[in-house]
């Protein structure tokens, strides 16, 4: 019995000690401040397919060498873009079935139509049987990212560079943005 009494206190103390003196070590919880989510999101932007009919004035039917359209990208004004966007990589691709060259201009405008960023490149001449692909990648790094954050509209302008060939064909446009965030 005395042995049991002798044992009782040490066992209880041992268990208490293990529980009460438990510790958390070898970790640095200050690292929570450095935790950041960094997703890279591929997002489809604009897509279209124009033919020679799209280069005619709707009212008069006259040939128009330049066509343009404006699309509001409202998500550029959202808080996750404004606060956490770090870089963007835009990719544009034209597939040209026209036997003409085109000049392409893509602009990003603010609410007040001020140009924040624009890019221009020529679309190579194609052929209805052998379409030619023109790719363009535009990278907006962290130092210039405000040009995108300040934008709300994307304008695509296509100008035909006429030649002696018949203006007939199809021009396909693909675009995407690789948005990199740091939340």
């Amino acid at each position: 019995m005395s042995f049991v009494k002798l044992l009782q206190t040490p066992i209880l103390l041992l268990l208490f000690s293990v529980v009460m003196l438990s510790c958390v070590k070898d970790i640095d919880l200050d690292q929570t401040e450095e935790i950041a989510l960094t997703p890279d999101l591929q997002v489809s932007l604009l897509v279209f397919d124009v033919t020679s009919a799209d280069f005619e004035e709707k009212d008069t039917g006259e040939f128009a060498a330049v066509i343009r359209d404006t699309v509001r990208l409202e998500f550029l004004d959202d808080s996750y873009i404004q606060d956490d966007l770090s870089t963007v990589e835009f990719s544009f691709r034209y597939t040209n079935f026209f036997p003409q060259q085109f000049r392409n201009k893509i602009s990003f405008l603010s609410e007040n139509n001020r140009v924040q960023h624009s890019l221009q490149f020529d679309i190579a001449q194609g052929d209805k049987n052998n379409p030619v692909v023109t790719d363009w990648v535009e990278f907006i790094e962290n130092e210039r990212i405000d040009v995108i954050k300040n934008s709300i509209k994307m304008v695509v302008e296509i100008e035909v560079l006429p030649n002696q060939n018949i203006f007939e064909g199809e021009l396909k446009f693909e675009s995407k943005g690789l948005f990199s965030f740091e939340f």
């Binding site: 066992i11 268990l15 438990s22 970790i27 929570t32 890279d40 997002v43 397919d49 359209d69």
Partner: protein
């Protein structure tokens, strides 16, 4: 964002825990708490009354796939690399649990016919969440590295509940071999959240047959989060005092209610060889008050926005492409908040054990009493299971239970479960006259550095236990 993230990680890391297995208290027939684990336990006392609020406090936590050290190891400073590695390593079946019980009242007494009645009130919290693997990958890494790979929203599955349980149990010895018991329970719900059986996939495909670089698919999206007891606390500008009063009211059947039953039995194959088993919380909760359901469902696919050239509509207004796009998304992917009643099942548990005793105890001879042979030493194996949204989770324990004297008992257990293969636990129960104190802790090795432990469990309590001479 970062403070929220830090809080979430700490919450999951420190508090979210395994849970409901109470292997150290199971088959400890000298403690009234064994009746909560098996109402058919072969208890050897004739009355008990717990010290209010102190007769049992239990908290257990578990994370089946990650611990604090994995994320915050101070020898490797790139915490984001560690977070990404953990997210990739964890699977959709890894889970985090937290279970807590606080006994408010506990008492019991033996009737003249030999049956033992026990009753009480305890507060219980049970949280369980599977790791939402695909949504976590999407949020952490985005879709760029996962083209043509679906992000599956069925990975989102979690439940949580806080309630007060009022219970009354009866334990009856049928004959020398068999003891059975049952416990009726009334649940008074304080809070509930449940989001299970979700479905839906998000995929970004680079199919060359589509008109743009990518086509995004949201397929068969059907996500539902049911809550009760949340909306009123979240939406109204209640003061802390008002919220506290509201929570207290819910504890006394002022909110959602439910009912359940525990069943259990002990069968003595021989004087020193027995099998025991119980099924706990076969119960249902009717969530009817303060209910809010959040739904997100539908199908949608898109290649992007398609401008028409020129940029004016027939009425000379600019075409609002973005608004049209948003309208189309809203028509196809619906976001609703409803107030529909729902029912939830309690996480049913079962225990099964086989126990062998040796070194028989000798009691003072009294011809007026019949004695049940008891042993100083008990060894046994115990299987525990708890029903979770996708499957049963199991734990297998082997134990050695030693009664050193009428006043000191200790039990050492070794448990294999989803959290650890080296979980050694210890229970010590001691008595000073009628006053009993016990403490039980699992995964003792983990206490030396909780950061490296994936589970921890502690049970502690004090009460008065009466035994007729």
């Amino acid at each position: 964002m970062r403070p929220y993230l830090s809080f979430t990680i700490l919450f999951f890391g420190i508090f979210f825990c395994q849970a409901q297995n109470k292997q150290l208290l199971y088959n400890v027939n000298g403690l009234p708490q064994s009746l909560l684990n098996n109402p058919g336990a072969n208890v050897n006392f004739d009355g008990h009354i717990g010290v209010p609020l102190f007769s049992k406090f239990h908290i257990s936590t578990g994370s089946s796939g990650v611990n604090l050290f994995d994320i915050f190891d101070d020898s490797n400073q790139d915490v984001n690399q560690k977070v990404s590695a953990a997210i990739r390593r964890l699977t959709r079946n890894d889970y985090f649990t937290l279970h807590q019980q606080l006994e408010i009242l506990s008492f019991g007494w033996r009737l003249d016919n030999g049956q033992y009645l026990s009753a009480g009130v305890y507060q219980e919290m049970d949280m369980f969440a599977y790791f939402p693997k695909d949504p976590a990958l999407l949020v952490n890494e985005g879709n760029n590295a996962y083209l043509n790979v679906p992000f599956d929203f069925s990975d989102v599955s979690f439940t949580g509940e806080i309630m007060t349980v009022y219970h009354l149990g009866i334990n009856k010895k049928i004959n020398r071999k068999l003891t059975v018991g049952a416990r009726g329970k009334l649940y008074s719900g304080i809070f509930n959240v449940a989001s299970t059986n979700n479905s839906g996939k998000f995929i970004t495909r680079d199919d060359p047959d589509t008109p743009n670089f990518y086509r995004h698919f949201a397929e068969n999206i059907n996500i539902r989060v049911n809550t009760s007891g949340y909306a009123s606390l979240n939406n109204t500008g209640m003061t802390v005092q008002e919220s506290t009063a509201d929570l207290l009211k819910r504890s006394f059947f002022g909110g959602n209610i439910g009912a359940g039953i525990d069943l259990g039995a002990t069968y003595n194959l021989a004087d020193n060889f027995r099998i025991t088993g119980s099924i706990l919380d076969i119960g249902i909760m009717f969530q009817q008050h303060d209910v809010e359901n959040y739904l997100y469902y539908g199908d949608y696919e898109t290649d992007g926005i398609e401008p028409l050239f020129p940029d004016v509509a027939p009425n000379d207004n600019t075409i609002p492409y973005w608004d049209l796009f948003e309208d189309e998304v809203d028509r196809n992917l619906k976001d609703e908040t409803l107030n529909e009643d729902y029912t939830t099942w309690r996480p049913v548990k079962f225990n099964a054990a086989i126990e062998f005793g040796f070194e028989e105890m000798f009691e003072v001879c009294d011809y007026r009493k019949t004695y049940k042979r008891r042993n100083y030493n008990l060894i046994g194996m115990h299987l525990f299971g708890v029903k979770r949204p996708r499957s049963m989770n199991y734990a297998l324990t082997t134990y050695y239970d030693r009664k050193f004297s009428n006043n000191l008992r200790a039990k050492v257990s070794y448990t294999i479960d989803d959290f650890s293969y080296y979980n050694v636990g210890l229970l010590v129960s001691t008595k000073i006259k009628k006053f009993n104190f016990y403490i039980a802790a699992d995964n003792l090795a983990g206490y030396f550095n909780l950061a490296k432990s994936q589970s921890a469990s502690l049970q502690i309590g004090m009460q008065f236990i009466f035994k007729k001479q």
